[in-house]
């Protein structure tokens, strides 16, 4: 099955865009429900996507651990506790229905993964910030990635995975999503896939920032193509920053974070040697909510009490107050093997502090979905980090990977059900043709704006104005600059005209998506005139529960981005827990 540049359209029942944990889970579930599935991946199956690089430590309450695996676990810990912790950290704007499905389904999904051959590295772990009890299961992203890829291969003809394809836009017909188009960049071919149902599982949009903790292909493609097709998104101002990161050697697009320091007694110091977390949360200090620590660190840096490096600002992380044998013990920690942090680095920590950078981490906002993974468009489903609503204003550590399994599985099932009930709709020929032209434009345009230059410009803007510490003034400037940059989009041109594996061509297609995502963040952040979770406003430093216990929703109306607010479905219709008085 191949689609050539001649305009041949391939057909499938369920089309899944993305091959991380959410995408592959959706594919498996749709196939198990009897549908023919095609997966598009912007890389090679099992070798890309954020699940692969994740810490793969996921929350599972003590009660469920005991029930599933028979291990001793804290008897006080139950799904209800995890539910409350998730909403507490999300600062009460989570969609509580989504949270409920997460805590209810996660044990089942974990059991399933173990049955499929996932080797778990262990069960108990230190309580992470925001979790009342130590709980959870840990494996590696690579392990999960391998198991899911293997499972997909076992499904044989029922699931076709197409490598090296960037989906660019959705095909629509009478308000229903009926497929997608994209670029097979390995060969330079346009591809069009007609589908009865589409699942978007493309992950976040971290690539709008110059340095982040995610793989480089996360350019916000799913959010942008959903938006262009008319789907609603929410919580786009909510983007997580992670504190104790260090930089991987050049190229500087990647930062890794050292989660162990957060729960093992590391101190964060500014250049005056002050343990500045005492100003923010004297009780929990560095173990405070991750969003709070990230805001505190960035404020120290922005206000001149940190250091500035050519790859970003940082504060100091010190462990000198700890006994040396504790540091030796930590160096044997499971997480370290994944952090490229050597024994030598740990020996250094016994004598001196290290640079603790701050880096963009996960997206909390994204496509608006219900608990079955349905978006606001018929025929379009979404799962994983590309969706919004589950985490609210901040994500509880350990909820990212389980989100992928739970939502992937549900979206796959819903898509299969939709595909079984609905015939495939006719593809609009003129829409197909204009999307084809749009894909080829940056390749065919003789000269114009460099996509790499455009990306650098956007990344500079994002690193200055879209980080967690914001102000109305700088956000307004950001919106203005983004509007200005949008004018350059029709002039993007790849320097090389060779269609085969032309990275600048892909970068040009990504640039449009990243710009849309940046605009979503800037406009939503400007609208939220309070501080909550990862979103801190200099001009509105307080949390305003009176006016802002609600989500910012956005969608495309004509060609403009329109924003409005809505109360999360939880507190209104589903009050398992209610916010405390502030």
């Amino acid at each position: 099955m191949t689609a050539k540049a001649t305009g041949g359209t391939v057909e499938t029942d369920v089309l899944v865009i993305g091959s991380g944990g959410a995408g592959l889970y959706a594919a498996i579930e749709a196939a198990r429900n009897g549908q023919q599935v095609m997966v598009l991946t912007k890389g090679v199956l099992g070798k890309n996507g954020a699940t692969l690089t994740s810490g793969a430590d996921f929350n599972l309450d003590g009660h469920s651990i005991r029930r599933l695996f028979g291990f001793t676990a804290d008897p006080r810990d139950a799904p209800e506790i995890l539910f409350e912790d998730t909403i507490n950290v999300g600062e009460w704007i989570n969609n509580q229905k989504l949270v409920e499905t997460l805590v209810d389904d996660a044990p089942q999904r974990v059991k399933e993964l173990v049955d499929w051959g996932t080797r778990m590295e262990g069960l108990a772990m230190p309580a992470r910030p925001g979790c009342r009890y130590p709980h959870g299961v840990k494996t590696t992203g690579l392990e999960i990635s391998n198991v899911l890829a293997k499972k997909v291969k076992q499904l044989g003809q029922q699931v076709t995975v197409r490598d090296n394809i960037m989906a660019t836009d959705l095909l629509t017909s009478n308000g229903r999503v009926v497929g997608a188009v994209g670029l097979d960049f390995a060969h330079g071919d346009f591809v069009a896939i007609k589908a009865k149902a589409v699942v978007i599982a493309t992950g976040g949009g971290q690539e709008i920032f110059p340095i982040h903790t995610y793989p480089k292909e996360m350019s916000g493609d799913g959010q942008a193509m959903g938006y262009r097709a008319g789907a609603e998104l929410l919580d786009m101002e909510s983007m997580q920053f992670i504190t104790m990161t260090f930089l991987h050697p050049y190229p500087p697009t990647s930062a890794r974070f050292l989660i162990l320091f957060m729960s093992n007694g590391g101190w964060l110091l500014n250049k005056h040697g002050q343990r500045f977390m005492s100003k923010w949360d004297p009780q929990n200090m560095e173990d405070a909510r991750r969003s709070l620590v990230a805001v505190a660190v960035n404020k120290e840096i922005l206000e001149g009490r940190g250091w500035k490096g050519d790859r970003g600002g940082y504060v100091a992380l010190s462990m000198r107050h700890l006994p040396e044998d504790i540091i030796d013990y930590l160096s044997g920690d499971w997480y370290i093997r994944r952090c490229l942090f050597s024994k030598r680095d740990f020996d250094h920590l016994k004598k001196d502090s290290i640079e603790a950078f701050i880096a963009p981490h996960s997206f909390q906002g994204g496509l608006r979905v219900d608990e079955n993974g349905s978006t606001t468009l018929a025929g379009l489903f979404a799962a994983g980090e590309v969706t919004g609503g589950l985490h609210g204003a901040d994500r509880l550590a350990g909820n990212a990977v389980s989100q992928c399994f739970v939502q992937g599985s549900r979206a796959g099932r819903s898509a299969a059900r939709f595909a079984a009930k609905n015939r495939s709709a006719e593809v609009n020929k003129s829409q197909l043709e204009s999307l084809r032209e749009k894909v080829f434009a940056p390749l065919e345009r003789k000269d114009g704006v460099s996509p790499l230059e455009m990306r650098r410009r956007l990344q500079k803007l994002a690193s200055e104005k879209l980080i967690n510490v914001r102000s109305g003034e700088s956000l307004e400037k950001a919106v203005g600059e983004i509007e200005e940059m949008k004018k350059s989009l029709p002039r993007l041109a790849a320097r090389s005209k060779n269609p085969r594996y032309n990275r600048e061509w892909v970068a040009a297609l990504e640039a449009e998506n990243s710009l849309v995502v940046a605009e979503m963040i800037a406009r939503s952040a400007l609208m939220r005139t309070e501080s909550r979770g990862n979103h801190y406003r200099y001009d509105f430093p307080a949390t305003d529960n009176q006016n802002w216990l609600k989500n910012i929703i956005l969608r495309r109306v004509d060609t403009k981005m329109r924003l409005f607010t809505a109360a999360p479905p939880g507190p209104l219709h589903f009050a398992r827990v209610t916010p405390p008085e502030r």
Binding site: G43, V44, L45, G46, K47, N48, G49, L52, T53, G141, L142, S145, N146, A149, K150, D163, N164, A186, H187, P215, K216, E217, H248, P249, Y250, P251, T253, S254, R256, R337, R338, L340, F341, S342, L452, A494, R495, S496, N498, R500, Y501, N502, R503, E504
Partner: protein, 125 residues
């Protein structure tokens, strides 16, 4: 193998170039990449792509040693480009014995199953 080109602080990176759609066989092209303490092979390839030759095809995903997407052959050794520091002139080719998409990009899904290649180590220096 010549050591660091001390005079201008650069290394010569000789890279395999091949487009199966147009070329009968591959050839090598040499680029000069600035020597810096934290430069990896992946950094050098990215530097070439971004600044010297945008036609160079090379794939990677995570950039820190997990995805194996960046694997290439450096002076005959199959390595993760992101984990090897650039300390001398090098010759870089695609992983051997695999179908080439273009330049350094190969069809190599099967690496997924190879656990020996998934071990994470510190960057060589």
């Amino acid at each position: 193998m010549p050591k660091k080109n001390e005079e201008n602080g650069q290394f010569n990176i000789t890279v395999f170039r091949y487009d199966p759609a147009t070329d009968r066989e591959g050839r090598y092209k040499t680029y000069k990449v600035p020597a810096r303490k934290d430069m990896t092979i992946l950094g050098a390839l990215t530097f070439i792509y971004e600044n010297l030759d945008s036609t160079l095809a090379h794939a990677y995903s995570c950039g820190w040693g997990e995805c194996r997407g960046c694997m290439v052959s450096v002076d005959g050794r199959s390595v993760k480009a992101c984990l090897v520091k650039l300390t001398q002139d090098v010759k870089i080719g695609p992983l051997p014995g695999r179908e080439i998409v273009k330049d350094l990009v190969v069809l190599d899904r099967e690496l997924v199953a190879d656990r020996r290649l998934s071990k994470i180590g510190a960057a060589e220096s």
